[in-house]
């Protein structure tokens, strides 16, 4: 299943947040979305997942989601969005409970995704006892449990300290190599973008328009050992964005 955005424009009241955004997410690809603070990245992702309705334009699912997908468009959030009153397993189970699955099927799925994210031993642990990295792993396990057609990830690593981020980035690459999931990945971090993205969509300042779409052809498995080469891509992206990032930084929030 592919996703296709056509001429998306969005407003909050009088504030134009997105203007005429147009791109596609093909199956099996990771599309990274970068742009300065407040340019509408999160908004765009919410539109993609049907959590908000665009003012103009349309967002289409092309093709049917793979059979057995319980929730084709599935989010991974920056703040993990785990229910603090449920254990790791409970948090995964939550998203299965509204589907017609037997208790056994459900616990099998839970055990399976926890194993795939190396969390089996943490099944019965409450979120507050987990480190940030572990929490995000639980959130990823939860996302995998509904067999998504496309993952919508909103800065999934930005709430983590940079060592944990490094570890999780490796895990994500490994996961992709194994499962070839489709994803739209929002980030501020250009290093993440060049490590994960098959395609990097660069947005301008608010109202967010597409400045450039950069394709990175190097296979994901090779990137870890070509950091210097990627550094070049990254520097190019940074040059594209630097001025706007600075301007966004100096912007006052309206009172």
């Amino acid at each position: 299943m592919d996703l296709r955005l056509r001429g998306i424009t969005h407003f909050y009241g009088d504030l134009e947040v997105l203007r005429d955004v147009d791109f596609g997410v093909e199956a099996g690809q990771i599309v990274c979305l970068i742009g300065p603070s407040g340019c509408g990245k999160s908004t765009l992702l919410r539109l993609l997942g049907g959590l908000e309705r665009p003012a103009h334009g349309e967002i289409l699912q092309l093709g049917a989601p793979p059979a057995g997908s319980l929730n084709p468009l599935t989010y991974v959030f920056q703040d993990f969005a785990l229910l603090p009153w449920r254990t790791a397993a409970g948090n995964v189970s939550l998203v299965l409970e509204d589907h017609p699955l037997s208790r056994r099927e459900r616990s099998e799925i839970v055990a399976d995704v926890l194993a795939r994210t190396k969390l089996s031993e943490f099944a019965q642990v409450l979120p507050r006892q987990l480190s940030g990295g572990m929490k995000q792993r639980v959130a990823i396990a939860r996302a995998l449990a509904v067999r998504p057609a496309c993952l919508l990830m909103d800065e999934p690593l930005s709430a983590l300290d940079s060592q944990t981020r490094e570890l999780l980035l490796d895990d994500l690459v490994e996961l992709w190599l194994r499962e070839r999931f489709t994803a739209c990945y929002v980030t501020h971090n250009l290093a993440e973008a060049v490590r994960l993205g098959h395609k990097v969509v660069v947005l301008s300042r608010r109202p967010g328009r597409i400045r450039e779409i950069v394709e990175i052809d190097m296979p994901l498995e090779q990137r870890k050992h070509a950091l210097a080469e990627l550094q070049e891509q990254q520097s190019r992206l940074w040059e594209l964005m630097r001025e706007e990032a600075m301007a966004a930084d100096r912007e006052l929030a309206d009172v």
Partner: protein, 277 residues
Amino acid sequence: MSDEALAERGAAGAAAPVARPVPFRGGGFAPRPMRLVGLVLFLVLLGLWELGSRTGWIGPLVLPAPTAVFEAFRQLVVSGQIWLHLGASLQRLLLGWFGGTLLGLLVGLAAGLFSMARAGVVPLVAALFPIPKIALLPLFIIWFGIGEESKVATILFGTFFPTVIAVYGGVDNVDRNLIRMGQSFGLSWLSIVRKIVLPGALPAILSGFRISAAIAIILLVAAEMIGAEYGIGAYILLAGNLMATDQLIAGVAILSMLGLAVSWLLGRAERYFLRWR
């Protein structure tokens, strides 16, 4: 075949590339205040009540008609009595609330800052808070006499405890990082309390004021049980004694409006003092 044509065919052609708009599943869970609805509901209720009274479905003993209540209120205004009552009550309210708040602030601050004070104050407050003030009225008369003192004292006692709780809760919730920042810059203890702890506790203190103000108004009737000739509470008590339900409800409505006015004022104060939020 265009995407649009495919979209028409819907889920039927499962294997073929179908284009469907992403289904919307957000929204909700964000109730907004709608001023008009509240007003309309209020008027409708009033209308039904009046209708019930007129048709005799609500007996006059059970509840007087809104017009009767309004008439009682009008009498009160026309005769000028309302100002006597309001004046007396407001004076008691202000004195009692102000005294209770001031004492509560001091004690609450001490409990928030010093282990010793906390250890002494907290259990005492926990034990004395749930004591009904009406139960103590006979003692209040002996302690403070039947003048204004005992009435003010009733309200003062009622507002003191919730203020203590709000203040030390507020001090507890001041961001410890800010205090550590103050210490790291060598600020004096007094500066830290004045410039960091107090402003940081202000939101909690102000919301404590809402509670203590509501309690002060509720206690007005109890306070004015002690030989008050004037005051909204005394007016209500007298109306109750005479079973003059129209005056009773009019008095209660005045208290309710007083409560709304106080909460509006506190809302303004919050907006002013907490404009940094």
